[in-house]
Each structure stands twice: as C-alpha cells, then as structure tokens.
Symmetry: C2
Subunit: 289 residues, 2 copies
C-alpha cells in the first residue's frame, strides 16, 4: 500500500490537474518508464522544490521500442517505485494502461525531424517519434507548468525542448544532470540487465567520458576527442555503436570545438545497450544554451 | 479601426487565455485563414452561443500549401474580416506573423496517418500535416475549451477530431454544417478566384450533391452514387479530381451503404480547386458517429 495517489485513467488525471490549476497550484511533472533509480529521484526532488504539486508518470511506452528491442522484458516494480516516490514525496503517480493511451485506430504522431536523425536516431528508427508522441500526450493529460528530464538521454531532452518550442506547449522544461553510481556508471533502469562481469565492463563508458573531460583542454578538433574515447572503449565485452561529437544545440556533427559540443556514446555490453554523454565547453566558448 | 482586440504574438495570447481561464471563462475558438464568409461567421456565432470568450485566428498557414499551390495569392482582407467579426461579436482575433509561428529551425510535425491518405491527401501531399501541425500549435496558444470546424472541409475535421483524441487535447471539437450561397455553391474563400462564367460552371458541384441526395434512397452500392455525381460533373469547364464514396468515420473506401458514407468531390474550375461533400445515411443506418 502507498500513500501516493495512483491515477490510472487520463481523464481522471486531467480533472485532477484542472482542479489543482484552479486552486493556483504549480504542477511539476516527471515522466518515467518506472524501475526508478536515483536519477529519477533527483528529478522528482527538484520538482518538489520548484512546484507545489508533483506528478510522476510510470508508463512503459510501447511506441518508443523497436520490434527487436526489450519492451517485453523491460524491468518493472510498481510497489518498489511507489516506496521510492513516497520518500520524495511525490503527490500523484499516473500509471495508465497501454490500451487507454493507444486505443484501436490511434494514428497520430508527433515528430521532431532534424534533431532525431543522428546519434540514437540512426540505430533506433521510430524511437524518438514514439517518445515525442507519448510526451505530447502526457503533457496534455498532466497539464504541468514544469517538466523535468535527465541529461543522460540528451538527444531526448533536446527533442522535447524543440517540440515544446515548435508546438507552443506552455511548459518549462528543466534539464537535470546525469546521476552516476559510486563507480561512475551512469544510472539507468537497463543497468539491471547487467551481470556482475558486464557491470565491470560497462565502466569503460564512464571512463571514456572521464578521460575526454580530463584531456579536453588539449584537444584541437572533434576527431581528437572521438579518438580518445574510442581508445578507452576498445576492449573485450564492449561493442561500440557510436562515439560522436556534435554541436550541443543542433546535434549536427561538430566541425570545431568553438561552440559547446556533446560527446555521446552508445555501446552494447552483452545484449544491453548503454549510453552516456558529456557536454564540453572550451573556456572561451559561450557558457550556455 | 476595430473594437476587437487584435493579438499578434503567441505569448500574449497565452497570457490572455490563462487570465480568462483563471476568471472561470469558457473559451471558444474558431481558427481561419481569413477572407471570411458566412461559413466562418456561422462558426463564430455558434462559439458566441456556447462560450463566454470568443477567439478567432486569422493566419494563412504556409505549411499547408504545396509548392505549386496558391499561398502567395490567397485572398486577404484584414479590415473587412474585422468588420465582419465585430458583427458577431468576436472578442479577440489572433493574427500572428509567419516568422513567429515558424521560427528558423522549427522542425516538429503533427501527423494523422490513415485518415489523411485518401481524398484530398492524395492530390495534396503534406497538406494535412501542415493543418494538424498549425492547429496543434494554435490549440496550445489559445487554450480553448471548444473549437469549431466546418464540415465543408470534412477530411480536415476528421483529422482534427482524431488528433484531439490521439494526443489527449482537452478540447471539445464542434462540427458545423456547410453554408451555401443562395444558388447552393458551398461557401469558400477560394470562390473569390472565380470569374462570372466559372461561377456558373462551379454550380455543377452542388448540383451533383443535390442529385445524389435526391436519389440516394434508390442507390444499391457506392458505385451507383459515384456514377450519378460523375454524370452531373462531366461537362465543359469542370475537371474532376475525384468523386469518392467513403466510410464517414474512417474515410476508407465504402464497400456498402449500410453505415453512413461521405460522398466527397474535388474538381477544378479553371485554375481554382473546389471541394464539396455530403454525408448520406440510409434510413435504417445509425444516425451518428
């Protein structure tokens, strides 16, 4: 049993949010696929600080999984998730059924084009279309003032920022930094798939990030960074999907290191696909987007 | 000069609507491309009856025009439109600039798939994607409780109803019947393109509609209806683009006349593309969708 109010149906969530808005509340929203970890909780705690009502959603969204991906075995633990959310505390968890989110004949897609072409978009066709579609739906259902997204999924964050701007969603998107395990592995629900040996192999990703961070001052060109990271990642147990350096705003391949760049990594450790990234700014470069 | 409040910027419109909602107003919205006629006004009058604040938008949306279509010569008369809207009266007209609706790097599309494949979707690729994208934007900017659309653009109406359901927009879509000239030509801003002679030729469309309506009881199959309409339309001055009978809900080709069907016509009169339609129900068939 949990003290958090669990809402299953979109209409009930809309009514809750209408009433909250009518009372003058500020709604902070954290969409998740559940199997929560400290990364998710850091978003919820920030929502708690910045909003008067905190809503989280737990929905393993089928439309963002490819036909050969891990939808059916994606880890789930609703009771455990509720216990963690109580510690924040979260006020409402929206946990809809797939058939209520995608009834028969659903046929509308929200698609962000340029930003989703490269990086993970290349190896996961349709993934970001599924993400932006479900987030647009959740935004209309939860009606938040603020929504929180982790920088671990940097391309997802940029796609959602772009969607919000392009479709005039009146919602402030709050990006939150990557949370890492004590050994620096970026937190992810998919880390649960790793065996103990794979878990050790997986540290090559965060080591590549750390190496690049330490040596960035001496880098002359994007290729130098790719080379550094690739060297750290080139070891048994790791199958690199990509190591790329892109403009941190447009996600187009970086041609210099003048503007802030993102180095992003995707690699398989056994059957598990992991990602990690870092934004790099030269001292003279603009500090923010 | 007009007494209607004219809002140019999306942010100003959002603030207006937030304030109206906080006061407990019900916002009724009529999106248009301007050059208003009685069809538009019938929507605005219904909005006036059903809402406490009436917002209309005038925006000739570039993304719904094909490269060889009439974007640059689409008729415009903002002063005349305002005078007509004062007669309703409309409270606010949103008339944004194209660069504020589509800034550089805008790249997000809302697309309804199955419903937009046939009928006008075939001859106007990208058109409905432009419509659903701009309507999603306008919904987020105007934040209405109700929005009004004419059945003249029946496929557009169905696409928007589907988008609203699929993306969980909390907005009631109100369909309104076609308004016709005294001689039965369906009202359209594009009728302004017609010469006096073309105007006479164009009456074949509404005559085809009337003929089908009168003879529907005797029709056995969709092909009978197509034949009837095609016969009326086959005359000098008219170039038929399509005459189709489709399921009134799914817009898929009708295989029988059991369920309500839509007969839809698109034809060119000179360079001007005109459309018209009628929903047909056999006496034993369900009365509504």
């Amino acid at each position: 049993m949990t003290n958090i109010r669990v809402i299953r149906h979109p209409r009930e969530m809309m009514d809750f949010s209408d009433a909250a808005r009518a009372r003058g509340e500020r709604i902070g929203f954290v969409p998740t696929m559940g199997y929560l970890h400290e990364g998710h909780l850091s978003l919820m705690r920030e929502a708690r600080r910045r909003a008067s009502v905190v809503v989280a959603s737990i929905f393993v969204n089928p439309t963002q999984f490819g036909p050969n991906e891990d939808l059916s075995r994606y880890p789930r633990d609703f009771a455990g998730d509720c216990a963690m959310m109580e510690s924040v505390p979260v006020d409402v968890v929206l946990a809809p059924e797939a058939q209520d989110m995608y009834p028969a004949r659903a046929q509308t897609w929200v698609e962000v084009t340029e930003l989703t072409r490269g990086l993970c978009g290349k190896g996961r066709p349709g993934h970001f279309r599924g993400v932006t579609t479900v987030v647009a739906k959740l935004f209309n259902i939860v009606k938040p003032h603020l929504a929180f997204f982790g920088e671990k999924d940097f391309q997802q964050l940029r796609a959602i920022q772009q969607m919000v701007a392009d479709l005039n969603f009146d919602i402030e998107i709050v990006p939150m930094p990557i949370v890492r395990e004590p050994d620096h592995l970026a937190m992810s629900s998919r880390n649960a798939y790793l065996t103990a040996a794979q878990r050790r192999d997986a540290l090559a990703l965060s080591r590549a990030i750390a190496t690049v961070r330490e040596n960035f001052a001496g880098a002359q060109a994007p290729a130098d960074i790719v080379k550094l990271a690739t060297k750290v990642l080139s070891r048994p147990g790791i199958a690199i999907e990509y190591v790329e350096v892109v403009d941190a705003e447009t996600l187009a391949p970086a041609t210099s290191l003048q503007a802030p760049v993102l180095m992003a990594i995707a690699a398989r450790v056994g059957a598990t696909r992991l990602i990690d990234n870092v934004v790099l700014r030269q001292e003279s470069s603009p500090t923010s987007r």
